[in-house]
């Protein structure tokens, strides 16, 4: 068989529409999911055993069920309770619900990783509460927050491909439509995979800049020893 991108010529607008919807859905789910994640994390950190138990149940349930099942539970569950919404809205909500469990864990870990007494120390040297928060606490939390958050956002964007199974016309759904019309799977999936890949590379680049900005740059493991590097390093030593 040969590779003939010309078969896609009429279908590029459809694929780009799909990619645009994938981006919109991902951004909406990021905003809603992160807000919910912060709320869950703050509840988890409240004193007493009950908040931790409830949020632990929430997080573990959502993290141990495949997203496609969560999606169908929400998709069939809402009409069950008499709520009828367009598929795109349902899909976005399900994606946000799914991501919120992971964001909650990220936020909780970032807050717990903050060394004790940072705020109090800043106050003790005469900083106002606002500036102690802004100059001491917030930068440290952000530094711990950014790398895993962008990572999760990338995972979520990829996970949005599953929305195709409830007929949300995002990129994967459109690729199946185009595949059905052209019977050119190689060209279609090469194109669609490239679009996802491009979006992922862009998100990765944004996150790299963001990490540099908040000072969360993690140095690549430095080569330690010529002999050991033969086995323990996968990167060629620079000479």
């Amino acid at each position: 068989m040969h590779f003939d991108p010309a078969v896609l010529v009429d279908y590029w607008p459809l694929l780009l529409q799909g990619a645009w919807l994938t981006l919109q859905v991902s951004v909406a789910a990021l905003v809603m999911g992160y807000a919910a994640g912060i709320a869950v994390a703050l509840i988890a950190l409240m004193p007493g055993w009950l908040p931790g138990l409830v949020t632990g149940f929430y997080v573990e349930t959502l993290r141990n069920i495949p997203f496609i099942i969560i999606l169908f539970v929400v998709y069939y569950g809402l009409p069950f309770w008499g709520i009828r919404l367009p598929a795109t809205l349902v899909g976005t909500a399900a994606l946000a619900l799914f991501a919120s469990a992971y964001y909650a864990e990220i936020v909780r870990a970032a807050i717990l990783a903050l060394p004790r007494g940072q705020f109090e120390s800043a106050r003790a040297i005469g900083m106002s509460p606002m500036s102690a928060m802004w100059h001491v606490v917030a930068p440290q939390i952000l530094r711990a927050l950014v790398p895993p958050s962008t990572n999760m956002t990338l995972t979520m964007m990829k996970e949005s491909a599953v929305l195709s199974s409830i007929t949300v016309p995002e990129l994967t759904y459109q690729s199946l439509v185009v595949q059905g019309n052209t019977f050119a799977p190689f060209e279609v999936f090469a194109a669609v995979a490239s679009i996802y890949w491009l979006m992922a590379v862009v998100i990765a680049e944004i996150s790299r800049r963001l990490e540099r900005r908040v000072g969360a740059v993690q140095a690549e493991a430095v080569s330690r020893n010529r002999i050991a590097d033969r086995y323990l390093s996968l990167v060629a030593r620079r000479t």
Partner: protein
């Protein structure tokens, strides 16, 4: 139309029966991913520039595209290039390939934590490279990445649910068949969610037990 608990209970046996398919495929995928991931890591450690550059592109592709698209590629594209695979084989190959990359990436991190002196000592003793890999590096490496592997196993189990999209009759597809016959999709989906929840909680818990075992073995 209220929630029918007895209906949910009545379909659980069928869903659990279908779960055997997911578990069987997940086990095959994990074994493949471990073997291939280890092999890939050793190839990368040879540091042949051209080979590592190609592997880097493959890794970026696998990490940058949805698993569902990778499954579609295995299912729709491979037959077009002459590889006619059954849905199960195509799906297993796609998830195993994806998982192989993640295993190799976590091994890369694990390698950095192995004591340099171990390699120096084995080299000084004149151990041949294959012995250094098999007897010194890999046993320590596997122990270190047990938590990551457990996590990867739950991800693989969740990934097998996507195979329903390419007609593998797993828990989800069985659930869809039951739902369309009974018009009770909500209870059915809750049932399949429970099945996955139990499988993955069992994996996580047994993983925690295995971790503490390994921790004592190391001490």
């Amino acid at each position: 139309m209220g929630f029918k608990l007895d209906f949910l209970l009545s379909i659980l046996p069928r869903l659990i029966g279908a779960a055997a398919v997911n578990i069987r495929l997940a086990v095959i995928i994990m074994l493949l991913a471990l073997a291939l991931g280890t092999a890939l890591t050793i190839v990368r450690s040879l540091k042949v520039a051209a080979v590592n550059a190609c592997i880097a592109v493959v890794i970026s592709f696998v990490r940058g595209t949805p698993l569902l698209i990778q499954i579609f590629i295995a299912y729709y594209v491979l037959p077009a290039v002459g590889l006619d695979l059954s849905p199960e084989v195509a799906g297993v190959s796609a998830i195993a390939f994806n998982s192989m990359v993640f295993v190799s990436e976590s091994m890369r991190g694990g390698l950095a934590t192995i004591d340099v002196g171990q390699i120096e000592a084995s080299t000084a003793l004149g151990l041949p490279p294959h012995a250094i890999w098999l007897r010194v590096v890999l046993p320590q490496l596997f122990r270190r990445i047990v938590p990551v592997l457990i996590n990867e196993a739950t991800i693989v189990v969740k990934g097998t649910a996507l195979l329903s999209v390419i007609t593998v009759v797993d828990v989800l597809r069985t659930a869809q068949q039951i739902a369309s016959a009974s018009y009770r999709p909500f209870e059915t989906m809750i049932g399949s969610a429970l099945v996955f929840l139990v499988i993955n909680l069992v994996i996580s818990l047994s993983g925690r037990v295995a971790e503490s075992r390994f921790a004592t073995a190391r001490a």
